[in-house]
Amino acid sequence: MKLQKATYCALYAVLELARDPDVQLSATDIADKYNISANHLAKVLRDLGRAGLVESVRGAGGGYRFAGNLKRTTLFDVIHLFEDVSENERARDSQADTDIGNALNLVLREIDEIAIATLGSITIGTLLKTMRWRTERVERDQENA
């Protein structure tokens, strides 16, 4: 699955802000960390703001902070803002009404459904938690080596 640049920017921003929901970060802070364009990220953050996933804080020390729900907001909620990942996407394919087009679309729809089920079942909280677990496991393994 290949994601567009804007989607990666959105995921980096949401996950970085959700890592500590009390912290506010500027677009430049996040862009520098992930080596992405601050201008591009600023546009993505506006889209995320409209979707209620981040909010901007004005004034000195202002920036953006996470405004979603760690236990409810999923990767799908972020990705679908920037990618067309709906299950009906295949039906709009111009070849869908031929026998070969139909057969191919059945296979591609299966892949889409698995992708949607996967992205829709991983919350931002789960991703951050399992990321921490993996880091701790690697550290433990290194200590035991």
Binding site: G120, S121, T123, T126, T130
Partner: protein, 158 residues
Amino acid sequence: MVRQEFHKKMNVDGVTFIIRDADEKDLPAVTDLHAYNTGQHKPDYWEETYHRYGDSNEGFFYVCEIDGVFAGFIIGEVRAWEFGSEPCGWVYTIGVNPEMRLKQVGTRLFETVCEQFRKAGVGQARTMLHRKDNLNLSFFRSQGMMGGPYIELEMPLD
């Protein structure tokens, strides 16, 4: 071999959980919870499942109680498959009383059954869910489970 009774009491964040072997008396609560979750009332099925996993050495059928109230159940077994699978801990099903949600009942049950899998010498826990079952998919993901190397395939036999 005589089955060793399982009974574990734990206090987490001020909540006292008791996780124990399922008893025949738990079957109405298990049957009702399953019916609530799936819309299917199957007392005979649960009776049979209890005799297979609950009062034998075939697997683990645990019930969780909070303050003496039925809070949920889990069933697991150690199984090996064909196609070269090493034995693994298989989570057969899990159910949480909707009135006891957000108390970490599922987590405590899942941790307990995983502990038994480890004691049985297996290094991997697995389960299978419908891809539209977002509630349970999200739960198992939050416990650290990810898509594994096996893919379920099926076809209609009509």
